[in-house]
Symmetry: C2
Subunit: 567 residues, 2 copies
């Protein structure tokens, strides 16, 4: 049998770390899964099923050693939104559609490798991603408030509307539910913020501290379940509980491939696939770089693709690599994907024996788990950095963030991409154009406004700090003609091309035009420092023949020396 | 009274040229107007009304001396398409909507000046424009075939469908109409191609030749009208004729400002305004540059805006500067907008006295006039040039062209813009990265694959020929890490930034990441030739403090000298 690379070279001393990490991740994953299932509006078992087979497939085919695959907040949110968008509200239909969606996501990821579609993510700037992730985290957190307060808010509304409705109905909260919800939030917060400090003062091993502090969700589940059961809160105070979860492993079944359903789900499936791929690769890269390992984007597409197909055929919904759990896995010392195999086994054991224990688990506790899981994704650091470094980047971040909140995640990311491309084009459409002169006794030529340089009245030497293409070619033409008009002494225009990596057809026409006008005004046009690849393309054009090869200089210095001698 | 600039400085010797040009343009304009009215599906008088007041207003406010404003093919096509799109088919409603459309086009042009929206046209590359103009010309020409053959083809179909229908129905052509249509085409072609040569052999003055060769449309109108009248072709052979055109000048009336109608027409009005502005400015610029005059884009917006509003209130439809007639005006010796004033007066005289003469004018002759007017717009030169110089530009030209034919002009231009921006981003997402070395005994550093240079195994000096921004930052990071992994001797990575005009937030993060990885591998990172504006922004970042100002060199040469001394 062909074993994965990491397994062929497995070393004994890696086992300890993998076992511990596998257990800790499982302790986080079981409650988180059920919570993300709830976020998608699906029964908890769908999410638990997504936490077994997909993990094994990713371990076999993925390239990251420590990525923790399974249900994640963003994918769950988008899955739920897709079902609502398509008007699928019957619970059985929702479950079927969720399987089909996972199948489509998996099926979309596999051919992306061939079409190199993964490159699309290059068009997402970091600020747009930051705005998108923060916005999604806020949307997810806000969507859980209704569970914390036990309110009945319709789904499918934009985040701000749903938030407004929730706030306005807080007076009608269910007191018992609110108690459990806020109590769970407090407990989880305490695990996260204070417990590690308390434990580190005791003489407890580092590993045990890791284990205890990460089991906050588990503790919230356990305590809230016991409280509801003991006090009978589900009956007497109508606290919403999880209820029955079927015992046993998922059956392997080919999901519905109803063509009508596929057609309805496909556009969103492509989007979910791209986002899931992007999220997973980002996390995997960030962990791999810390250990100087490499992520292979193509293997990632296969790993995630097969994981989603595995989810589809084992009763699950779309999965991806999750930020929080991957960090837990990584910091708990996982050395290889074997850790995920242990995690999957533990989830399987839970499905086989322990699901009846979750009957009285209140939804408010799960909501608290979701909120605490997504809060760290809200990233103000990038906003601050972008604001200080480049306001236009900060602007695209904010537009993405607020569009996610005001409309939805898809529109948010599309708005972000459009705005960042637009701003980039706008920036490059008015390139920096420097008039340069010689630094005394050197062969260097620099901007006249920034350096003390020697110039010659008869020579206008300008350096364009941008590729010449359709969006900026008018600007260049206008600038040259304006400079020439302002200074009647000019006999030579020297265009220094050290920053120009390509000249498109529009720009070539525009240069031709400029040449024509300058010629009419008895001004000669010259070029210096044209780069090799640019010159290769220019060499065969009528334009360069018009200019004359003798007017194309290798260096600015040579051009200046030659032109100074000319009368 | 505040006279326009050109009138304040009017010289007597300009008058002759203006009168002759004014007359010749009028001779072309009257038949062309009626033809373009037919193209838009509107009565001929609407187009004639568009040829009086708008010309006077443009003369008063525009900046081009020779631009011939009035009905043009593209605007008429788009006006007709807009009315069909909106389901406006009743002739009275169509006329009202055409006035409103002109009002909206004018109203849209005026504030564009403030919003600097004219800059949007910078995002149209020359190849996209060429594909768009050629495609529109073909669409217009094809749309007239039905009139040539006297067929009844429904409007509002994509060009290829309408063409297919026409061809398949040619056996059912109206013989008399076909005779007139083909005869007119032949006559016009003869005027265009052979007449000038014949006349130049006679001893006729240049001016008279100009006048005679340009009166082809007038001759086609006169001859075909006489033929139809004499042979009674309209009754006996059901040849379609123009019919009644009301006698007299247009009334000045504020057009309907029905809010519902405005809402329906507004999106297309904005589009027509942009295209009209673009077409006019392109023509005006090309003529002005030949006479070393200047076009003021802002004045153009006002000139065209008021011309369209004038058209709206005097019973016309959207107008712009036309390519063909402007060329006629220019080459007939027009010196100032006074030529257009004469033209307007002659059209007014026609409206006052001569419209009954057009009663028997066959539509087939007008169709022939349209076809001959738009054929010169089909531009294969740019395609050929782009194909040789840059295939991606040729691709965007062809996509635009075929989308115009297969869908419509709006979709065509949108497709062209999207594809050219996409290709540009794709190109800049994989920038040219050169490894450089020293040219012996100089301070110059060049690509190792193109020049004989001296390198140092311990120093990897790379020059990135592109701005660093979100779309290419992953590529750079991957390339550096690959180069470092391939050559274990490297101790220093020197990034030469001579081609980098800005570094966005994403790229800054990516550089930070690269620095982190290199540091872990005991490799130092240095920079050279960072441009002034880029350094200004970097100076305050945490990144440059990490790098250390001592590792940022003014020149590549200094960097090499310093690094060679280091162990």
């Amino acid at each position: 049998m062909l074993l994965p690379h990491w397994l062929q070279h497995y070393k004994k001393d890696q086992l300890n770390g993998d076992i511990i990490a596998g257990i800790i991740v499982a302790v986080v994953l079981v409650p988180q899964s059920m919570a993300y299932g709830m976020l998608a509006g699906l029964p908890p078992e769908v999410a638990l099923y997504s936490s077994v087979l997909p993990l094994l497939l990713y371990a076999a085919f993925g390239s990251s050693r420590t990525l923790a695959v399974g249900p994640v907040g963003l994918m769950s949110l988008m899955t739920g939104a897709t079902l609502i968008d398509q008007g699928i509200t019957d619970i059985n239909e929702m479950v079927t559609a969720a399987h089909t969606l996972a199948l489509l996501v998996g099926a979309a990821l596999l051919p992306m490798r061939i079409a190199r579609l993964g490159a699309v993510i290059n068009f997402l700037s970091h600020p747009v991603i930051s705005g998108f992730v923060s916005g999604s985290a806020v949307v997810i957190a806000l969507s859980q408030l209704k569970h914390i307060f036990g309110l009945d808010i319709p789904t499918g509304l934009p985040a701000y509307e749903s938030f407004y409705l929730t706030i306005s109905q807080i007076p009608q909260s269910n007191i018992a539910t609110t108690g459990i919800g806020l109590g769970s939030l407090a407990l989880l917060w305490w695990f996260k913020s204070s417990l590690a400090k308390i434990l580190s003062r005791q003489s407890i091993s580092e590993g045990a501290i890791q284990f205890i502090t990460k089991s906050g969700p588990f503790a919230a589940v356990a305590i809230s379940t016991v409280v509801v059961y003991q006090l009978g809160l589900n009956n007497q105070h109508s606290v919403s509980i999880i209820g029955d979860i079927p015992v046993g492993l998922p059956e392997i079944l080919i999901p519905s491939v109803d063509p009508v359903l596929i057609q309805r789900l496909l556009p969103n499936a492509l989007f979910i696939a791209l986002i899931g791929y992007f999220e997973s690769v980002s996390i995997a890269k960030s962990m791999a770089s810390q250990k100087r390992q490499k992520i292979d984007s193509n293997k990632e597409l296969i790993g995630l693709g097969t994981a989603n197909i595995a989810s589809a055929i084992s009763g699950g919904f779309p999965v991806a690599g999750g930020f929080g759990r991957s960090m837990v896995n990584f910091s708990a010392g996982a050395n290889s994907p074997l850790a995920s195999v242990f995690t999957a086994c533990l989830v399987a054991l839970t499905l086989l024996f322990f699901t009846p224990l979750f009957f009285f688990l209140p939804k408010a506790a799960l909501a608290a788990i979701i909120i605490l899981a997504v809060l760290p994704l809200i990233d103000t650091h990038t906003l601050k950095q972008a604001w200080e470094y480049d306001r236009t980047d900060a602007l695209s971040l904010l537009i993405t963030f607020f569009t996610v909140l005001a409309v939805d995640v898809e529109t948010g990311i599309i708005a972000g991409v459009v705005i960042s491309i637009g701003l980039y084009l706008n920036r490059s459409s008015q390139p920096h154009i420097a008039i340069v002169g010689q630094i005394e006794n050197t062969e260097h030529y620099r901007n006249v406004t920034r350096h003390e340089v020697i110039t010659d009245d008869r020579i206008l030497a300008i350096r364009v700090d941008e590729n010449l293409y359709f969006a900026n070619t008018n600007y260049l033409e206008d600038t040259i003609m304006r400079l020439v008009a302002e200074n009647k002494a000019i006999d030579h225009v020297l265009l220094i091309c050290s920053s120009i990596s390509f000249i498109d057809t529009s720009a070539l026409e525009s240069l031709d035009n400029t040449f024509y006008h300058l010629e009419k005004a008895d001004i000669k046009m010259h070029f210096a420092e044209i780069k090799g690849p640019v010159m290769d393309k220019l060499r065969n054009t009528a334009f360069i023949k018009k200019i004359g090869e003798e007017n194309v200089f290798l260096s600015t210095h040579k051009a200046f020396q030659t032109l100074k001698e000319q009368q």
